[in-house]
């Protein structure tokens, strides 16, 4: 049999996201139907979802989702968790037996809170402690991966077509206010369970269509701040860049977006003095976080959903709104499948974000938006 790489499978990844800006939860059926329309963009080597608002009964605990290669490593991890965290609950993530999903690892979740005395001893806050724990497990412990670590959210992913992964994880049984999805067509890196999208850290999740050509430059920059890139997929850096710029640097969303998809120097040259000064500063200070290459990404957080394209839009994205819902997808058909008559539909420009914040969110600043987006999102 010819293996992937020896035959050409014409496709590209697919992404889709749905959000209710009032924070009202809805089932996982819509996002599965939406991503399934774009079946031919992926090749069965990866699919995944991120869902927000799904664990209200444990909303104060960090929800760790684990892949374990075998029971021995699970026991080792549980001992490590007990040492560092108070475990409110732990269980195998319910899955449905399916012919299309094979060779699944052991998949478990634990709802945990760091022990106070551990935090005091290490002199870090809760979130930083969790980030360090995730980095430590993923880089140092063979056979165990934490693929989700936020509060009241979760990632569900694996090797298979996204609609099959959705069925496998029984996602129609969960309710969330933001859902993102990914269908994978791996180009440069292996298709394995940990390498499927979304990539997450705390409550930040990323699904991505494209290629991060600046992966190594970004990785080197991130390593200086303690992030370890071990999942063999370029998209991983986007999750950590976002975590660093938002959580650790406390930058406003519009500045984060300008750091990741900066305008070209010749465009900056044409701006007014103040804009020029700000953008020059962003490019100089955060140059190592400039994400280059073709990309269309969807970032989820507990506060909302952000879509961003590379500066010259080498990957597609379409956005739409209807009532309290915001939709973003690689193809229009993926939106229409679950939203029969969108009120507004537009093609975001390269480097121009679509920022969908919950009405209850408290962003660190009011993001700069184009008139069209203002109308679309606020109406």
């Amino acid at each position: 049999m010819l293996r992937e790489g020896q035959i050409r499978i014409p496709s590209g990844c697919a992404i889709s996201g749905i959000m209710n800006k009032k924070g009202r939860v809805f089932g996982g059926g819509d996002i599965i139907n939406s991503i399934a329309v774009m079946h031919d963009r992926s090749n069965g080597l990866g699919g995944g979802f991120a869902a927000y608002g799904i664990y209200p009964e444990f909303k104060e605990e960090y929800a760790f989702h684990f892949f374990f290669d075998h029971t021995a490593i699970k026991n080792e991890i549980e001992a490590l968790l007990k040492k560092n965290f108070i475990i409110a609950s732990g269980e195998a993530i319910p899955v449905r037996k399916s012919n299309s999903i094979k060779d699944a690892p052991l998949i478990w979740r634990y709802f945990v809170r760091p022990k106070h005395r551990v935090l005091v001893k290490q002199e870090v806050d809760e979130e930083e402690f969790v980030v360090r724990f995730v980095m430590r497990v993923n880089s140092e412990i063979d056979g165990a991966y934490i693929f989700s670590s936020g509060k009241n959210m979760g990632a569900f992913k694996g090797v298979g077509y996204p609609e099959d992964i959705g069925e496998f994880y029984r996602l129609e049984e969960y309710s969330g206010y933001i859902w993102t999805a990914h269908g994978r067509f791996p180009t440069n890196t292996p298709g394995w369970w940990g390498g499927a999208h979304p990539f997450t850290l705390l409550d930040c999740s990323v699904v991505h269509n494209g290629e991060i050509s600046s992966y190594d430059a970004n990785r080197r920059q991130l390593e200086m701040y303690g992030y370890k890139c071990v999942l063999q997929t370029d998209t991983e850096v986007v999750a950590y860049i976002f975590d660093y710029l938002m959580r650790k640097q406390g930058l406003p969303l519009d500045v984060i977006v300008k750091a990741m998809a900066s305008p070209f120097w010749h465009e900056i040259d044409r701006m007014n003095k103040k804009e020029k000064e700000i953008l020059r500063a962003i490019r100089v200070v955060y140059g190592g976080f400039l994400v280059n290459g073709p990309f269309s990404i969807l970032i989820g957080t507990n506060q909302g959903m952000i879509a961003l394209n590379d500066r010259i839009k080498l990957r597609p994205s379409i956005a739409a709104t209807k009532g309290d819902y915001l939709y973003v997808a690689s193809e229009e058909a993926a939106i229409r499948q679950v939203c029969s008559k969108p009120e507004h539909m537009w093609m975001p420009r390269g480097g121009e974000p679509v920022i969908g914040l919950l009405e209850t969110s408290q962003p660190t600043c009011v993001p700069v938006r184009t008139e069209q987006e203002k109308i679309a999102i606020n109406s």
Partner: protein
Amino acid sequence: MQTIDASGMLYRDLNELVRDSISRGVKEICLINVNGQRYIGDGLAKDASTIIEGTPGNDLAAFMEGARIEVHGNVQDGTANTMNGGTIIIHGDARDALGYSMRGGEVYVRGDVGYRVGIHMKGYQDMNPAIVVGGKAGDFFAEYMAGGIMIVLGLGLAPDEDIVGNYCGTGMHGGVIYLRGEVAPEQLGKEVKVVSLTKEDTRILDEYLHNYCRYFGVEREEIDKKPFRKLIPYNKRPYGNMYAGW
């Protein structure tokens, strides 16, 4: 006329039905509830007409050789990819890379188009492809254009909206672009210059504008309110010395 309900149908099954019908001599097909099915009308050489209700998937009418497709809705990426002949009428918007490497035929879009529209369109002797856009176009419009005609009308633009994005005509070395509106020098590729229209240009434009108004029920006076600008390349071989300069 034959009607096919495409709800939930896989693209292979749908396209097989369409090809079968046309080879049996059906002259007009209506596809309803289309959503995301790819490759509709690809390589169609027969003199047949297909009406599509919904959102057809990527690569609509790729390599099409002479049929007619009318879409009541928007079309996705790569429509009219390497199309050789025929007509596509789109009553909504088109997305990225419409008319990629197009070599013949005509595409009319009532609304806006995305990035890289008409990239590497080409023409030769009696093969002279054309794309007419009613609204605005995204960046890299007519990039590496080698032949054919591209027309943007800029109808319904807000006062601060540009008729084309950046890098318009970058690497262009053949063909002609007609823009009904202003374009700033920094929006243009360095291979392109703006010139005034000749009588011959007005005659060519007239034919396409007539069709546009007829297909979409637009008043010609509305279009005639604003003048056109013509964009042509400085040089037929802008990269002639790039790799082989001695």
